[in-house]
Each structure stands twice: as C-alpha cells, then as structure tokens.
C-alpha cells in the first residue's frame, strides 16, 4: 500500500510562495498583509496538523471499517488501477463541494469552518488558516459514499491532499483573472475571492474546490465584478487576534445559544444556517442579501429615468 502525503511535500512550496507574495505585497499592496493576522493564520495551519494527528484516529477507523462493505472491489493492488485515480479526484472534488456547502449552511459545520474565513485579509497565508475542530463535525459522512463505492481510503486521502494543494494558490489578490477557458472550468483566485467576501452579493457563493463547474451546476456561482470592492472575513468581524478565541468562538457561541434556547429550538441552533435565531433577532446570509437587494433596488428605482420605467424590457438596475 502506498504511503504518501502530498501536503507534507508541498509545505516548502507553500513557504516559498508566501515569500514571493510578500515581496509582491511590499512593492504593490502593503495592505494585503498584516503581520499579526499572518501569525494567526500560520498558527492555525500548524495547530490544524496537530489537531488532525490527535483527533483523526476515529475518522480513519470509521472509513476503513466502511471500506469493508464496499460495493465494487478494485483488488488488493487497488493503486495500480490507473483510471480510478482521476475518477476519484473528480468525485472527491464533488464531495468537497457538498461538504464545503454544508460547512457554510449548517451551523455545527460552520463552527469548524468559520476559522478559514475569519481573516479580514486574503493572501496565501489565509489558505493555511485551517480548522482545528473538523473532526468534531459530521463532515466525514460525505466521504462514505466514495468509500462504499470501492475507492480505498488512502486513495481518497491522497487525491484530497492534491485538492487541498490546488486550493492554496487561489488565495491571493496578486493574480487578477486567468484565461477565459480556465475561469470557465477551474476554481481560480477570482472565483475564490468571491467566496471569501462578506459583500451581500457574494455571501455563500462559489463553494468549489478545484472545478468551478459544481457551482454552475448547483446554482451557487457568482462571478467577481470589477466595480465592487471586496471586503473579506465574516459578517461579524472578530476584532481580535487571540488565536484561541479565533479557533473556538463559534463553538462557544453555538453552545451558549443551545443552552439558552427553549427546548423546541435547541436542535435548530445546531443544524440550521449560521445567523438563524428563534426570535428573529439575527440575520442569516439569505436575510442580509434580501435586505441588500431591497435597499439597492429601491435606490435604483429612484434613479431610473421615466423612459426606462415605461420600457417593459429594460433590465433591472442594481447598485454595487
């Protein structure tokens, strides 16, 4: 059985790429980095590796146990089945899309994934801002169909590693847009900047890992606009560089909400979307977008000329 972890080999490349981006930042955009933020992001990366080693054992045991119930068998030397590798990569990326979407739409999952979004900066160090608590969610369940189909857990681990490596380079403002054919199929810095934005238009969009086609297929794609400055981070910015608060703030918030909520609403604070509240005192991303649409459309209507008002085929206007 091959023992290979692509991410371990990629770490020196990550460091070199960050150095290059820092040099770019010094020359072109010093505000792209913030030393304290960089320190927090990189500490997240190291802590994530340690947390994975400490708490990943149960997940590994579950996937190997599930593999015993596989529908198709690729044989003892499964790694020699060449066509299984690209197929596993594509299916794993589809799995990533859904686990990532769940990471934004289910608060329990968001409690772990919010870490990756809590920086107000968007640079290559942000890519390493990985969760410490992913093993305390049910994200693993999304991988089980692939295991039960007959893909070996190690194969899924390896292609997943390459998926993660691909996603590293798209966390940058240094690259504008890639060629059109590439932007059409692949996830790019432009598409992923949208994903990290808190602008109402961009909230909960572009969940893709490697192939942006999943967002186009499932209705969550939003292209980056040149006329709208992106704000990065989370809707309620933390305002703190305390690493432990950054790691655990959403878990603490969620558990507090569950403890305080009436019994019939407790499960909703675990499984409904972030921002949901039983008394309507907070806003979900859908509510923020709806409020923004109302506001901008009202503003546009005030500015629309009488001629356009009478024109039934005039497109609706929308301020940035």
């Amino acid at each position: 059985m091959p023992e290979f972890s692509p991410t371990q080999y990629a770490v020196p490349l990550f460091v070199i790429a960050i150095l290059i981006e820092m040099a770019w930042s010094r020359l072109r955009a010093p505000e792209a980095y913030e030393p304290k933020d960089t320190l927090v992001s990189l500490s997240f990366g190291l802590g994530s590796t340690i947390a994975g080693a400490l708490f990943g054992g149960l997940s590994v045991a579950i996937v190997f146990a599930a593999y015993e119930y596989r529908v198709f068998d690729m044989g003892e030397q499964w790694w020699l089945v060449w066509w299984a590798w690209p197929l596993a990569f594509i299916l794993d990326d589809l799995k990533y899309y859904w686990v990532h979407r769940a990471g934004h739409r289910i608060r329990w999952m968001w409690a772990a994934h919010v870490n990756h979004h809590s920086s107000q900066h968007y640079n290559l160090s942000t890519a390493l801002r990985q969760t410490w608590t992913g093993n305390f969610t049910f994200g693993l369940l999304f991988a089980l169909p692939l295991i039960l189909l007959g893909f070996h857990p190690v194969m899924i681990g390896i292609v997943g590693g390459f998926n993660l490596i691909y996603q590293f380079w798209i966390h940058t403002e240094a690259i504008g847009k890639m060629p059109r054919w590439f932007e059409a199929v692949m996830n790019t810095p432009s598409h992923h900047r949208v994903h990290h934005a808190t602008n109402p238009r961009y909230l909960d969009r572009n969940y893709a890992g490697v192939f942006i086609i999943w967002d186009k297929m499932f209705g969550t794609f939003e292209p980056e606009r040149d006329d709208e400055t992106i704000r990065y981070g989370i809707v309620k910015q933390l305002g703190s560089f305390n690493l432990l608060w950054c790691v655990f703030h959403e878990w603490i918030g969620m558990i507090t909400d569950i403890a305080r909520a009436p019994w019939k609403h407790k499960l909703s604070y675990l499984l409904r979307e972030p921002g949901w509240s039983h008394d309507g005192s907070r806003e979900t991303s859908d509510m923020i977008r709806a409020r923004w649409r109302d506001r901008t459309q009202q503003g546009a209507q005030r500015e629309t000329s009488p001629v356009a008002n009478r024109n039934p085929i005039a497109p609706p206007q929308e301020a940035a």
Binding site: Q8, V11, V15, I18, L19, M22, A23, S25, R26, P30, E31, A32, Y33, E34, P35, K36, D37, T38, L39, L42, S43, G45, L46, T49, I50, A53, Q120, H121, S125, T198, N199, P200, R231, G233, Q237, L238, G239, S240, F241, N242, W245, H249, I288, R291, W292, R295
Partner: protein, 127 residues
C-alpha cells in the same frame, strides 16, 4: 514528528517576522465622516451614518443612524471592526477619553478621545 513541528514553528515565526520587517500592513486611520460612513457600512451593510465622531488619531469612531442605533468602530490591524451597541453596552467618561464597553468580552473596550464625549456617553448609556 518533533523535528517537523519545530521546523514549522520556526518557519511561522520567520514569515511573521518578515512581514514586520517589510513593514507590511501599514497604518490606517479614519480621517473624515466619509471614511467612518464607509467603515460603518462595512460593519453592517446599509448602516446609514447620520452623525459620527472620530477619536483623535483616527483609531476609532462612533456612528449613529437615523433610528438611533449607535455603532462603535475600532482599528483592527490595518482594517476596522465594529459593533452595533446594545443595552448591555456602557460608556464611561474619563479625563481624556470615553471608554466604550461593547458588552462583548472578546471585542473589548474601545478608548476614544472625543470633543463631544458627553453626548455619546449619554446616548450609549440610554440604549
């Protein structure tokens, strides 16, 4: 494993140190009402700043919307973070500054040197 951890830790400190050495980040400050209004709108989309006061140095500000809601904004690195204040917020006047406690422990208190501190202290404590 231990060598890997040590190596990663050194790399982290070197990269963060380099960011300081290269003077990345820089300093940002709220200079005028338009800047406060923009920052407030980033904290909460659609927040309409009707009245605002900027702390000396531009490190923090207070903004009020037409419905009477008050937002405190503070510098966070080279960005801004803020909170719309709730009744749990308090404001205390000191000799040279107004201390605004958002009521959220981790967001902390914000110190503002303002010319119109009494107005804001009264408004915040009445929320």
């Amino acid at each position: 494993m231990l060598i890997q951890f040590g190596g990663s830790l050194i790399a982290i400190l070197v990269l963060a140190g380099l960011a300081v050495f290269l003077k990345l980040g820089g300093k940002t400050a709220l200079r005028d009402e338009a800047a406060v209004s923009q920052a407030a709108n980033e904290v909460e989309d659609g927040f309409e700043t009707m009245r605002s006061s900027i702390a000396r140095g531009g490190q923090a500000a207070l903004a009020r919307d037409p419905t009477g809601r008050i937002m405190v904004i503070k510098r966070h690195g080279n960005k801004y973070a803020g909170r719309v204040l709730t009744p749990s917020a308090t404001a205390k006047e000191q000799v040279d500054a107004l201390i605004v406690d958002s009521g959220e422990a981790r967001f902390g208190t914000v110190r503002l040197s303002l010319a119109d501190a009494p107005y804001w202290a009264d408004a915040i404590n009445r929320l």
